[in-house]
């Protein structure tokens, strides 16, 4: 996913992410907090997996989008944007996702031209949920970047 509109929107201090249909489904918005990009997923009944808990898939979806948008926001300005796609995603679930808002952020371990390694965390800040010190889940994600005009076929095209 690479849309110049999205990259431009992410430079703002906060906003919604409705240009990404799946982010709209999760009702996501973002906030710039210092150097970090935070995604906020408000609680909604449609996020429930087992009674009273968020679906693990929705938590994973939030972590993947936190990683994806962090990678897009980290691309140098003024260049053509690559398509960013997750290739491997490993999620550890540490605590139950309670029926309350969740907040996710990601950090880039290594920003390469073709591969970006990312760690993402999600936590809950409402009363008794432990906040950032007690993440409910974390993900390790490897993204591959596909650059326009950088197609280098491994073998000659037929």
């Amino acid at each position: 996913m690479t849309s110049p509109i999205l990259a431009a929107a992410l430079k703002g201090p906060a906003g919604r992410l409705d240009m990404l249909p799946y982010a709209a489904l999760l009702d996501l918005s973002f906030e710039r907090v210092g150097e970090e990009l935070h995604l906020i997923m408000p609680f909604d009944e449609t996020l429930i997996g087992s009674p009273g808990r968020l679906h693990g898939g929705a938590i994973a979806g939030l972590l993947e989008l936190a990683g994806l948008l962090t990678v897009i926001a980290a691309q140098p300005e003024g260049e053509a944007l690559p398509r960013v796609r997750p290739v491997t995603v490993t999620v550890d679930y540490m605590r139950e996702g309670a029926a309350t808002a969740s907040r996710a952020t990601a950090s880039i371990t290594r920003l390469g031209r073709r591969v970006v390694n990312v760690q993402a965390q999600v936590w809950q800040e409402s009363e008794g949920r432990g906040g950032r010190d007690k993440p409910i889940a974390a993900a390790h994600i490897n993204f591959v970047l596909d650059w326009p005009q950088m197609a280098e076929p491994l073998e000659p095209a037929p």
Partner: protein, 151 residues
Amino acid sequence: MTSFADQVGQFMGPFIGRVPHNKRLGLRFITAGDRWVELQLPFAPQLLVDPDHGIWASGPIFTLMDTAVGMASMLARGAFEPHATLDLRTDYVRSPRAEATVTARGECYRMTRQIAFVRGLAHDGDPADPIAHVAGTFMFAASKLAPGWQG
């Protein structure tokens, strides 16, 4: 099929599609065996991350696989006991075709007293040409074990 799998097909199969988040995505039950299950996620525009290029978000595919392997672990357990996902790794082999229905098959290949070891794959028509693979573990709090499994 075991009698428990029959029960799953008759009663819990439809239930899968009524779990609120599964229902929101449009996920549906197809079939199940004694320790595996097949689910489907039909295409919907709301599942895309890049509508300009018809590219699926990976989250809905993760959710489909999580649900399939979670249900497979309950089938292998032989009971609907509370359980929690410990970890899940998904390899996205390729993107689904733009408006494809994605099918996931999840299985529990090993059950111990506390841990279910699971794996699965997702495809968009041909299981030999998968779009994603998953491997993970679920944790059961109780110590009950289905007959035939070794702790």
